[in-house]
Amino acid sequence: MTKHQDDHLHFNPQVQIIKISYDGTIKETDNNFFNWKKNTSVFDAHPFFEILRELERNNDTDKKALNFPCIHLEDSEVAKICDVTFTIEKKEITIILFDYTTKYKDLNQIAQQKNESILLSKQLELKNKYLLEKEEFKNSFIANINHEIRTPLTSILGFVEVLEKTKLTFEQEELARIIKRESLHLNSLIDDMIDLSKIESGKLKVVEERFSFQNLIDGFRESYSKVAEEKQITFETTIDPSIQEYLIGDRTRVYQIINNILTNAFKFTEEGKITFSITKNYQRTNKTSLNFKIEDTGIGIMQENIPHLFERFTRFDTDKRVSGTGLGLAIVKNLVDLLNGEIKVNSEPEKGTTFNIKLPFKFEVIKTAPKRKKKKYTLPKSKNKFRILVVEDEEITQYLIMKILISTGNFFVDIAINGQEAINYIERRKYDLILMDLTVSKIDGYQATHMIRNNYGDKFISEVPIIGFSGKANETAKDKCIRAGMDDFIAKPFEQEELIYKITKQIAKKAAD
């Protein structure tokens, strides 16, 4: 022990000195904080001191002094955090314990905060990753289940349309009407689920397009007037005449929002009236904000239920005759938020409900655009029927398309069950059009189209019109088809008229070329 250490020890109560023999027997100790007895073994005092045996065994005791900082020492009465020094002399070892408990506890707090914040951010990162994976799984699950449901639904809707054209008794007609109505309901439910999933995953993008606002409102006026007539209630629509006829905004989403609220108003109003008014909140340069007010005299909503109105799967009515999934208003709220709008609701049970929706729009100061009408196409004159190749692996959809096309009397139909078979067919026979399911096996619809467009010198093959179709109907599906070389896209479930229109259009366009 140095002179300096010795002096330090005498004046500092935070130090304890223990002298031991090489076998660990305590020869002397001041017991400043640990009350260890003379002639007992230091190895029994605390397992830390066992290190001395190892140092001796490994000849590490050659070193004159060894320092061990920040050692937690405790016995049944005292707990300290000490720096420990071993000074190895000829006949004995001096152990000095420097008590730095307070200093180390302060340092401990700092380290605790620092490490905790790092670990917490890591935990959040992990949680976030987990949630993202879960979200991705949910979205892909919804997309897949949607595809699986849409395929049989296409068949149901298609066959009902075929069935409706046959001779039916009154009862059969009614049953067919119910099947169609329920199938359409199921179809809109799938759309709701997909929309909600897209909104929640941030995949729904706002589209800014110029559209006729007047037409949109006229559409509501027309279709809901019929419903009002059937229900024998009054439906009034008023629109501020200073609102521009053409606005710039996401027409589809605006339609969806208003349609949802109007549908609800009609669903829950059995007598009285529904008023739909659109007023202008403000107008600045090329921006305007409109207020859509939908007021009904329906059953109303209990005050305590209003805060939960926009939650998913929320339904307060117990009337099972009123159909609904509880997704509609959740979608509305999400869409309004997405469009940077506001939605407010006031309601009183038995008196009615009022929804106020504020939505921002832009407008251009330009002349009104001519109304775009759907161009009419007719099949070119031909002695022979037109030959269509349907590439589809689902037997029921094959049969449905065949039935629709053959019933027109204008088409011959061949069926290929996968992309490879389609290639074999087109090499053997000339087709006027190919209806290509995008997800067929072996060679999918995209690949098959690529091969048809690029591998044949015969223009009859390489330029044959191709219409893609799929149950995975989303905004990019058509773009993807066009980029793959197809001429058009039709989503399942398709309407008979739409299918015939698209086929006719492509054949007519090809003939005109």
Binding site: E54, F68, C70, L107, A111, N115, K122
Partner: protein, 164 residues
């Protein structure tokens, strides 16, 4: 002569060294994270398969932020085994594994180092094992101090190995 072996738990902070220490020593676990400053040492006497008794003196050291070189050198003196603990959910806790093992080999050539991946309860065992193998992280055992999975078995095997 009574058998006594010093085993040192080393690794990054927050990987669960103290949890493993407490689980092995007292069969306790706490969700609360508490920083270890310096080193805490405890002894546990275990019976070996041949009937001998071994005093395992476990040094639970303060976790480092970068590499093993931050660990105080005196803590590693006189060791019979090192347990290098990493957190299977945090890549940064095994990113320096190869370098750290080289350091141990260079300075403590005769002391075996066991690699242990902890917090198995937070991941899928098969998936993480595959992931670690693909990253060339060779581990001796995957454990969960929380659920006690593989903890006692790991220490028993280690005891056998260091007393051979």
């Amino acid at each position: 002569m009574k058998l006594s072996k010093k085993v040192v738990l080393i690794g990054h902070f927050g990987v669960g060294k103290t949890s493993l220490f407490r689980r092995f020593m007292d069969n306790e676990f706490s969700e609360e994270y508490k920083v270890t400053l310096g080193v805490q040492i405890k002894k546990k006497v275990i019976e070996l398969p041949d009937g001998r008794e071994l005093s395992m003196i476990i040094w639970d050291t303060e976790g480092h932020s970068n590499s093993i070189e931050d660990t105080r050198k005196s803590y590693l003196l006189g060791s019979h085994a090192f347990i290098y603990v990493f957190d299977v959910t945090r890549e940064e806790t095994y990113a320096t594994l190869h370098k750290d093992l080289e350091y141990l080999k260079k300075n403590h050539a005769k002391v075996p180092a066991k690699i242990l991946g902890n917090k198995l309860d937070l991941v899928n065992e098969k998936e993480i094992a595959q992931h670690l193998t693909s990253q060339e992280i060779h581990f001796d055992c995957l454990t969960s101090a929380k659920t006690n999975k593989n903890v006692q078995n790991f220490f028993s095997e280690l005891a056998k190995e260091i007393t051979k």
